[in-house]
């Protein structure tokens, strides 16, 4: 079975841990990062199908992640989650071709559905 690879970037450990646990349950290979720098470095080493990233992080933020990913790996879908959701950030994210945009707390089931949708395009 070809397993899909999902990357999760969030500066809070609880989000990474919970996301990893629940996405692994779906059969994905999941890697988590507490900040974006090593995450982007890791992207160079191997393909990820979906990147789930927090919007507001110290250093490189979610919007930078989105831009970099879409620029270098256009096939990889980016899902953004943020505790500071407002219309401007959503519009900005959409312009950056985000696959989906969720305010936190996000229902895990909805996140899973969104990932499945992103992956079904790739089949």
């Amino acid at each position: 079975m070809n397993q899909y690879r999902v990357m999760v970037i969030d500066d809070e450990k609880i989000v990474c841990d919970m996301a990893k646990m629940s996405l692994e349950q779906e059969g994905y290979i999941v890697e988590t990062f507490l900040n974006a720098e090593p995450a982007l470095a890791r992207l160079k080493e191997g393909r990820f199908d979906v990147v789930v990233t927090d919007y507001k992080m110290k250093g490189i933020d979610g919007m930078d992640v989105l831009r970099t990913v879409k620029n270098l790996y256009p096939e990889t879908d980016v899902i953004m989650i943020t505790a500071f959701a407002n219309l401007d950030t959503a519009i900005e994210a959409l312009r950056g071709k985000v696959h989906d945009f969720f305010p936190k707390p996000v229902k895990i089931k909805e996140l899973k559905t969104s990932i499945q949708r992103a992956l079904s395009k790739k089949k």
């Binding site: 609880i14 989000v15 692994e24 059969g27 996000v106 229902k107």
Partner: protein, 856 residues
């Protein structure tokens, strides 16, 4: 009519000068803020359920909204009660401090020397030690029977060491210290002085124990070191002193003996091996009331050699003989399934037993021949122990080593629970195997399709998802709640926050009525009990004692199958159990412990006090109940300028209405109104009940001679009674509110009710007192009223011929039905005491009423 107006005039002006409209507005204000706060609590429960990805920002934001709402509610409450409950602010500040501490990852420090088990919160293990923390968790959270006990804290230990200048000798210890040196240190501890503060604290605690258990009980004084019974068990490393008399001196001696054992040679070596720094190691001590044990023993909740079974050892008298391997104990192996079964048993030859001595201490005696070779547990007791062990294992998420005892009354007490290390490695392997397998399957979240018999499908509203199975227990009356067995599926007509008493150990809840916003619903989410409410007729479809399996999926779709379906149970809450393995999740979720649980369940209980408030939910509940009380007492006052309107009804009730907004639909200058013109929801419902065909008996019931004299003598008591009784037949009503006093003959009814769309705000308060006949007959009428009201879920308090009944958190339609029944009851029982010649009449008339047969 003139008389009524005179009555009213005499009442103008509240004793504290609060006009009723102000009082009522403040009351509504309190309700509004309470609702807002409870909605935030519900939201937090949902977001922290394991179904959402959340971060600390969410918790901080939601909590700050919650404190704002609770503060607003408190402020309104202060104005309503004119600061009668100002200590509530201290309680709020204390709980708020605990939550903020937990949010910042700070463990609360304490300067308390002694803490009773019921006051030990989850994060106190560093100050009470592992053993005390685990037991208090079982007592406070799972509500298991743990004897009365208190912990002498690590703070007391620190102070003791400081007071006696012992730290230097302790610092000098390492694994190479000679045994004689250690002995010297132990002796100096035993000969040390107990500092005055500690002496006082222990003295007070003993006084409290005496108050709770009587003066003739004894204590077990046991070690509870910081890390003991947590990561490592320290089994058998430290001293235990059993059967210590309830005297300061004896307990202090035992205390010193126990803490001295921290420095025994074997303990020092053990701690060193585990890498502990002995100079910083602290010991708390547990002082627990001794069980006068008929039998005792140990449970390994998982057999180290067989995962699906547990082991129970039992012996006569105290369990120490098993721990020390001195006796050929009885042995049981029990299969760990929903309905546990004994798969193997062997009765030992128990040559000796350890018993409590009359004046303190224990002794080993020869077991009487008659019982030596007899099993010391009945089958029922074995199974009950097994159920308790499964519950404990589930709660602590791992195999447990449990000590228990059974007293002469057959009551099981839990004396210790600690992780069973020997199995953990195996368990971890098993779990990672399971994880591996589950990773290969993407269908883990949905159960296989089934051909089993479906009893109910997609009825009602799902409150908490999950899979559960058990025997149906149909709850007919609130006071049967104590009889609900462990692992049962509780099925009831109404929902009730009282169910919190059994929530830690039942499998599921199904009710005929109810809504997702009730107190009970929040509690079910908190305890993660699969729950469906508002099914219509579950009490009719499901049979008492029937085995069922219930499945509720993520989207709230639900099915109830006949029988226990093992495969389905494997899917039970798998995600949540995995989430619980994540430390950060567990830690963050624990904050809810200070927010959501409800300890103030029943306003009629003695513990319904400010001191009893342990969570934000408790504070809100306290505020609501006391706000209602304030309204009940204050509603009769300050109605100046309002016109009384007489109700023209087909029955001579003599009720006049003071409409405070939307209570009547009449022209402003009209002075009378018909039933059709009543727009107050609660008033209309009560009057509808009173008008119900056959309930109002107009023929006077003849009094016997004795009753007649009693009635004459009681006139004075009644007329000179409190102001609450002097304003009869007045109904203060708005669209959603009613406060009405009714006097019929020599007895009085007071009804206060709020009946709105928001279930959480609704209440009925009913008070009934008096009567013309002798006290026996009047008491019988009280019994009859109590029996009938219990059927409708009221909490009841009676004293002589007074009854106070309360009901809250009921949806509006249901409220209207109950108020209708209450109206019927008021009419039906008007002259009933004169007919209650014997106790059997109480039963007869109660049954008649419930069957809608109102003949007298």
């Amino acid at each position: 009519m003139i008389k009524v107006i005179e009555d009213l005039k005499s009442l103008f002006g509240h004793k504290r000068g609060l006009p009723f409209n102000v009082l009522f507005e403040r009351f509504k204000d309190v309700l509004k803020n309470n609702t807002r706060a409870l909605e935030i609590i519900t939201d937090m429960g949902e977001k922290l359920s394991g179904d959402y990805l959340f971060d600390i920002n969410y918790i901080k934001g939601a909590y700050s909204e919650l404190t704002a709402a609770v503060k607003d509610s408190l402020q309104g409450f202060d104005m309503l009660t004119q600061n009668s409950y100002s200590q509530l602010h201290e309680t709020f500040n204390r709980i708020d401090g605990q939550i903020r501490g937990a949010l910042n990852g700070r463990i609360q420090s304490t300067d308390e020397m002694v803490i009773f088990y019921e006051n030990i919160p989850w994060d106190k293990y560093p100050v009470v030690g592992g053993k005390n923390a685990n037991l208090s968790e079982l007592k406070n959270y799972l509500k298991l029977n743990v004897p009365e006990a208190f912990s002498v804290t690590t703070h007391a230990f620190d102070e003791f060491i400081k007071h006696n200048n012992l730290q230097e000798s302790i610092n000098a210890i390492d694994v190479n210290t000679a045994e004689s040196k250690l002995k010297e240190l132990q002796d100096s501890i035993i000969n040390s002085e107990i500092l005055p503060d500690l002496e006082i604290a222990i003295g007070k605690a003993l006084e409290e124990i005496r108050k709770r258990c009587g003066g003739d009980c004894f204590l077990a004084v046991r070690s509870s070191a910081e890390e003991e019974d947590r990561e490592f068990s320290f089994a058998g490393q430290f001293e235990t002193v059993l059967n210590v008399p309830l005297e300061g001196g004896a307990v202090e001696e035992a205390y010193k003996k126990v803490i001295a054992s921290l420095f025994s040679e074997k303990a020092v070596i053990y701690m060193k091996q585990l890498g502990y720094d002995i100079s910083n190691f602290k010991m708390a001590v547990g002082c627990m009331v001794m069980v006068d044990a008929v039998s005792s023993g140990i449970i390994y909740s998982t057999n180290p050699h067989r995962d699906d079974a547990m082991i129970i050892n039992a012996t006569w008298g105290l369990g120490r003989s098993i721990v020390e391997g001195e006796v050929d104990a009885d042995f049981y192996a029990v299969r760990k399934v929903l309905t546990p079964e004994i798969i193997d048993e062997k009765t030992g030859r128990k040559e000796s037993m350890i018993i409590n001595q009359k004046d303190g201490g224990t002794k080993k005696v020869k077991t009487p021949d008659a019982i030596r070779d007899k099993p010391c547990l009945s089958e029922e007791q074995v199974l009950e122990l097994a159920r308790l062990a499964m519950l404990t294992e589930k709660h602590f998420r791992g195999p447990q080593d449990i000590e228990w005892a059974i007293d002469k009354g057959g009551r099981i007490s839990i004396l210790q629970s600690r992780p069973l290390k020997v199995v953990e490695t195996r368990d971890v392997i098993a779990r990672s195997e399971a994880t591996k397998q589950s990773l290969q399957s993407t269908e883990i979240a949905s159960p296989p399709s089934r051909n089993d018999k479906v009893l109910m499908k997609d009825k009602g509203i799902a409150i908490q998802k999950g899979v559960a199975a058990g025997r149906v227990f149909i709850l007919k009356q609130a006071d049967e709640l104590d009889r609900v067995p462990k692992a049962a599926v509780l099925v009831s007509k109404h929902d009730s926050s009282n169910f919190v008493k059994v929530m830690p150990y039942i499998s599921a809840i199904v009710t005929d009525t109810g809504t997702p916003t009730s107190h009970m619903a929040s509690l079910c989410r908190e305890f993660r009990i699969p729950t469906i409410v508002n099914t219509g007729n579950a009490t009719g479809i499901l049979k008492h004692g029937q085995e069922i399996t219930l499945y509720i999926d993520d989207d709230g779709k639900n099915v109830i199958y006949e029988g226990i379906i093992g495969e389905l149970l494997e899917y039970a809450d798998l995600t949540f159990r995995r989430m619980e393995d994540i430390y950060e999740f567990r830690k963050k979720r624990y904050i809810l412990r200070y927010i959501s649980p409800l300890n103030l369940v029943d306003p009629m209980m003695d513990s319904f006090t400010i001191e009893g408030c342990k969570t934000m939910h408790d504070i809100l509940r306290f505020i609501h109940e006391k706000a209602v009380t304030e309204l009940v007492e204050g509603a009769r006052y300050g109605l100046k300028g309002r016109h009384p309107v007489k109700l023209d009804l087909p029955i001579p009730t003599g009720i006049v209405v003071i409409d405070i907004g939307g209570g009547l639909d009449i022209k402003p200058d009209k002075r009378n109104a018909t039933y059709e013109e009543i727009t107050s929801i609660p008033l209309r419902a009560i009057i509808k009940g009173m008008l119900h065909p056959g309930v109002w008996h107009s023929d006077p019931i003849p009094l016997k001679v004795g009753d007649f004299f009693t009635s004459m003598m009681r006139m004075d008591d009644i007329v000179s009674g409190s102001a609450n009784f002097s304003s009869q037949h007045i109904a203060i009503a708005s669209k959603e509110y009613l406060n009405m006093g009714l006097r019929f003959g020599y007895h009085f009814n007071l009804i206060d009710s709020y009946c709105s769309e928001n279930q959480r705000n609704n209440h009925i308060y009913f008070r009934f007192a008096g009567g013309a006949t002798d006290i026996t007959k009047r008491s019988r009428r009280i019994q009859l009223i109590a029996d009938i009201l219990k059927e409708y879920g009221f909490s009841i308090k009676t004293k002589g011929d007074l009854i106070i009944a309360r009901l809250a958190n009921i949806g509006r339609d249901e409220m209207v039905n109950i108020l209708d029944q209450l109206g019927r009851l008021i009419a039906y029982t008007r002259q009933m005491d004169a007919l209650l010649h014997d106790d059997s009449a109480v039963k007869r008339y109660t049954e008649n009423f419930l069957e809608e047969n109102y003949k007298l």
